[in-house]
């Protein structure tokens, strides 16, 4: 009979040693330096923004929400995919496929939500008063206004961030224990032991842990679903372009779509970087491909439904929004988005393509910016062509806005690299469980 040693040792060693390796590859340092530089630029831009105000952006009346909101809902959308892969699949009985991916998918979620949360604060006219959105007692005696979809957004972003953070950490505890037990030096051992809360794999601990972990997973899924990428902020307003119940599912679908693409990219790069072919097998890629295809088609259906609804409503302004989207100021953006999102995607109908990392990477690399462009058109569409033609206006993002967007990308990469370096990026115990 095969003992644990033979089955479990390889995966343990392989994953654990990524975090425990004494010497780090130059590539990692290079990536860290680059993303670090972007992060510094981000911080500098933020300082500039806070010093001079949102006047340095291209926003105006009517387009008073610009890149900041686009980025926010884009990041929030990415996050939902991580939750889906890890939490939702955890609740689906009898599948272990997720085990290889869930850990870094969750990390992606946590970081993405954090990035999504940065923008709403930066975009305030008076960021110094942001705390007025929280129910803090004061001598003013005035409270937040809870009918506002923006207050909903504050609550849901906050909840979503903390829930996914907790879910991620709790799931990591046993693997941190593994790192502790394989760590060489006493200091690292102590550090990982603290992080692992002294986990000792007790049967009772496992039992209670499982209950808590599943509960957290459920909460994460609920939070993510309801938040649906901040769609309420748009759907609840009277703007003809946004005011539809179809918007939240639309944003959710596109969010999952883009998020899956990002997870796929992370999967491929980690797999290549650390030779995790044994852990992340072709089967994983195949399923990821299928999921991406399904999500893409779901989103396509959602988009089609919205368009049909707009046309079928008979409301001239909704129709006009469609036309504006198709042939208006941002027609190029619209069609670019459509092409990027749906044309390369079709390759995934073929099994061979789904198992070819290069193809998968290409598709994912097209989808992610595609969805961002779609968000851009959506946000502008609702504002630049509102009810009164006299108030129709245009908008062009400024350098400051682009810098902030790039900055969050950099910060995301920076933090993710640290995660890869110091934390178990694959759920080892789950793979053990699966292989046992």
């Amino acid at each position: 009979m095969s003992t644990g040693a033979e089955i479990f040792q390889p995966i343990t060693v392989q994953v654990a040693d990524i975090a425990l390796a004494r010497r780090v590859r130059r590539r990692w340092w290079l990536a860290l330096a680059l993303s670090g530089a972007a992060t510094v630029a981000f911080v500098a831009t933020v300082v500039w923004l806070l010093a001079t105000g949102v006047g340095i952006w291209g926003i105006n009346i009517p387009v008073n929400w610009g890149l900041a909101i686009v980025n926010s809902i884009w990041w929030a959308g990415l996050a939902t995919a991580g939750t889906l892969i890890s939490a939702l699949l955890l609740l689906v009985p009898g599948q272990q496929w997720r085990s290889a991916l869930n850990r870094f998918a969750e990390a992606m979620t946590v970081l993405a939500v954090a990035m999504a949360g940065v923008f709403p604060i930066l975009h305030l006219g008076r960021p110094e008063a942001v705390h007025w959105m929280l129910p803090l007692p004061s001598t003013l005696g005035v409270w937040p206004q809870f009918r506002s979809p923006l207050t909903w957004d504050v609550a849901s972003l906050l909840a979503y961030l903390l829930v996914s953070l907790a879910f991620w950490y709790v799931g990591m505890i046993p693997d941190l224990a593994t790192l502790r037990d394989r760590a060489g030096g006493a200091r690292r051992r102590r550090a990982y032991n603290r992080l692992a809360l002294g986990w000792r794999g007790s049967a009772l601990h496992w039992a209670r842990w499982r209950q808590a972990y599943r509960a957290a997973a459920l909460m994460a899924v609920l939070a993510a679903t309801l938040h649906s990428g901040g769609a309420m902020l748009f759907a609840a307003g009277p703007s003809a372009a946004w005011h539809t119940t179809g918007l939240p599912p639309y944003l959710l679908a596109s969010g999952v779509f883009s998020g899956l693409a990002v997870v796929l990219l992370l999967t491929l790069s980690l797999r290549a970087a650390f030779g995790l072919g044994a852990v992340i097998t072709g089967r994983h890629l195949d399923i990821m491909g299928r999921l991406l295809l399904v999500a893409g088609l779901a989103f396509l259906y959602g988009a089609a439904t919205l368009a049909f609804g707009a046309w079928y409503s008979g409301d001239p302004r909704q129709a006009q929004f469609l036309v504006e989207r198709a042939v208006g100021a941002h027609a190029v953006t619209t069609w670019a988005a459509m092409a990027l999102m749906f044309v390369p995607l079709q390759a995934l109908w073929w099994r061979r393509a789904r198992r070819a990392p290069a193809v998968l990477a290409a598709v994912a690399l097209a989808v992610v910016p595609g969805v961002w462009l779609d968000r851009y058109v959506l946000v502008l569409g609702g504002l630049q062509r509102d009810y009164l033609p006299s108030r129709w206006g245009e908008y062009a993002p400024t350098a400051a806005e682009w810098a902030l967007f790039g900055g969050t990308l950099g910060a995301f990469a920076f933090l993710f690299l640290l995660f890869v370096r110091f934390l178990p990026l694959v759920a080892m115990f789950e793979i053990r469980e699966a292989t046992a």
């Binding site: 479990f8 009918r147 049967a203 469980e433």
Partner: protein
Amino acid sequence: MNTAPPAALLASFPDADSLLAAARRARQEGYECIDGHSPFPVDGLAEALGFDERRVVLLAGAGFVGGFSLALLAQWWMNAVDYPLNVGGRPLAAWVAFAYPAFELACLAGAVVGIAAMLLLNHLPRPGHPLLDVEPFRRASQDRFFLSIATVDPRYRPRRTEAFLRDLGARQVLEVPP
């Protein structure tokens, strides 16, 4: 070899099944202060050791419900009671609107309470547990499976218990220092 009696005996097993079998036997023998240690959750092990509780789940549920109602109540009090303001001609007690943040905060409360309950019931964090000082026990988080019998167990007898563990098929039996 120190003279003081050990805190517990620790038997190591190659795989989950043998640990599970051993745990069942030990229970039959009437041992009470026993525990299993595995690098992944072994189905049925806890139950085999007599674990039977749903407190964590129930507390998480309570957290969800409590969080929801508390959030709902707080919003209603702030917007409809303490400082009622006509906001866009909407109702003062806009339950549908209040439900949205309430639900999100309920999710937060549910997750946090569930996890907190788990940690408290498990007496975690506890980085200083004596088991962690046992060199071979490090495999418990990697590829080994252990059964521990505390010396405080009424059925514990130094020689007999060790022998018992050995014929359960333990690869080795260690003494956990006090």
